[in-house]
């Protein structure tokens, strides 16, 4: 089972190529904002980026707090999936994800769960992120 992970945030150049790839591939959208991950920029500290990708938690807090069961654990390997019809747009899931990896689709007012497909990895020029093989029991939080 492969899962998206941050390999080395210090190698990030802040090009946002990963976010563009994610938005483009799933929404055909020419933006960074539909991406299921974020590269964050800190003001004043030139060159400091923080990469927030879904950690594929085995016991995901985002799903645990969902009042309607819209966000549910995937059967295998950690992470979550969304049953869109059940979502009541309360954003409890977003607040529950302390590492702020779960993203919010402002337009549709629903969370954007990461599929762990690895398209972002394919467009990272500096091996900041990677698809890492992991046993199920290992798929717990690493930040």
């Amino acid at each position: 089972m492969k899962r998206l992970q941050v390999i080395d945030r210090d190698q990030c150049i802040g090009c946002f190529s990963c976010m563009f790839a994610c938005s483009r591939s799933f929404y055909k959208a020419l933006t960074t904002e539909k991406s299921a991950m974020r590269v964050r920029v800190y003001p004043g500290l030139e060159g400091a980026f923080s990469i927030r990708v879904c950690d594929a938690c085995l016991e995901p807090d985002c799903a645990s707090v969902c009042p309607t069961g819209a966000l549910i654990k995937r059967e295998k390997g950690g992470g979550v999936k969304l049953i869109e019809d059940k979502c009541i747009h309360c954003q409890k899931c977003i607040k529950a994800c302390l590492i702020a990896s779960l993203q919010w689709d402002r337009e549709k007012k629903i969370p954007i769960p990461c599929r762990h497909c690895g398209i972002c990895v394919q467009y990272c020029p500096n091996h900041v992120i990677g698809m890492v093989d992991m046993k199920e029991e290992e798929a717990v939080s690493h930040v």
Partner: protein
Amino acid sequence: MYKKIMEIDLTTQTSRVYTDEVLFDEFLGGTGVATELLHKHCDPAIDPLSPENPVIFAIGPFSNIYPVSTKTVAMFKSPLTGELGESHAGGRLAMAMYNAGLNAIVIKGKLDFKGYISIEDDKVEFRRAGTIWGKSSLATERILREAEKDREGKASIVRIGPAGERMSWFGAVTVDTQRHFGRLGLGAVFGSKNLKAMVVRGTRYETIQDFKKFKTIYDKIYKAVVESGEMKKYHDLGTSVNVVPLSKIGGLPTRNFSQGYFENAEEISGEAFAEKHLIQQIACAHCQCGCIHIGMLREEFSQGKEHMYKTFKVSYDHELVFSLGSNLSIKSPEHILRLLHITEKQGWDAITVGVVLAWATDAYQHGIIGDKETGGLALHFGDDKTYMEVLRRMRDHYNQFYSDLEKGADFCGNKYGGKDLAMVFGKNEAPGYMTGENAFLDWMAVGVRHSHLDSAGYSLDQKLLVEDIPLEKQMAKLVEESKFRMLLNSLVLCLFARNIYKTDIILEGLSALGIDWDPERINKFCDKVYKRKFEFKFACGFDIDQLELPGKLYRVKTASGKLDPDRVKERLRLFREIAGI
């Protein structure tokens, strides 16, 4: 493409957004569209520092969409040259404008308070900036990013430092992490409008119509950027990889263009910076190359009493290593970084500020200016401490002379004498190449914005070292390259990717966006945009027949030999004939 323009009137604090299909269909975007907007909104007779001077920003059809299409074009009437002001910057501005659904922004008028504008999609807020007036360019970014952090989307922070507030004719506008609309004084125009900053963000996007076609060309460009080696130079050592090779051929301007060989070139080379100071390369939004080289300097600040350290980070590249290094005979990266840091905080154009210091030093050494002007400072090449003090005195307007230095070398040469020592081309201070006549002709006449990025004459000069090229063909190449860059700058690409974006790739990229052009249309387009710029320049009083190279250049040796006044004249004649100008 949205084909949308936002017009902002600072005087009435109003704005409107409108669509102009015709304009974008004919002129694509970027420099093509901005030139037309300049013709529309700028009376060539106006004072550049009056409210009537428009500030125009434009992105192109490739912006935010394809790799390394990262630049935004700014256009205005230049306070430094009194004619076409055009400057390009990277950072996140192109992405932010795209996210706001805007292909161009036109700012006119003047705020009646010290303020900034905050753009989000179609909306503009006019906000007070009294508390940040006087703050450095670096602090302003930090403060505004925090002040605006709760709003939607990734923001681009576009602002001036104190130099722009003082309306220094070479005040820069800084974008995000130390990218700049550096040249030709846009910062002064911001200052004249009481405009400290422009924050842009948005929530808009377009969707891809033909995904397969788009992916094919996107991946082709992506692979070329990341894997082909075409951009290796830029992300590896960066442009300062040029320092030593240029010096070896006698093309690195040293001590105000006295010679092209710098005896300490290796100490300030790209390699030396990388070894001691480079901490990271970072990128503009949607550029996988990442050419922004951040240098770090750690300093002890308790004068040895304790172990107290401070650290600052500043971006560097070839032009700055030339202007604040070899051209001032500064042989230490530490000293260059210190001079750069104050320049960055003040928000001066770093090329111009170094060339101005070099003029002052040369003029002082020749007795043209003296202690009366400098307030007792003796100016010597290589004296970094005095240069730091000169910059402080410029910052503080210590006396009339230091105030005048903020107007550039051409102004000072006219006022104090020593005009032949002012390394200016069309009144704009020289970039870092002493390669020969093609570079100089490019900056003076052929290039529309007096920039080394207009047509790379420095590269042609270097070809002459190994190849005999007839004069007419040299001028034809300069003109051809200048014109082709009208297309690159309309798309708007970073010119570092010019070897990737050849005509066939550009046409394929346009086609995937539903814009079907052919090589003939490109040629006509380039010719038209080029000429439209000269129309504006001429209307401002730019006169090719009056152009002269700095006198000193006829007394020195460049990489491709001594200059010949008759040949320079012949080059100008050929230029007009070939370009149809």
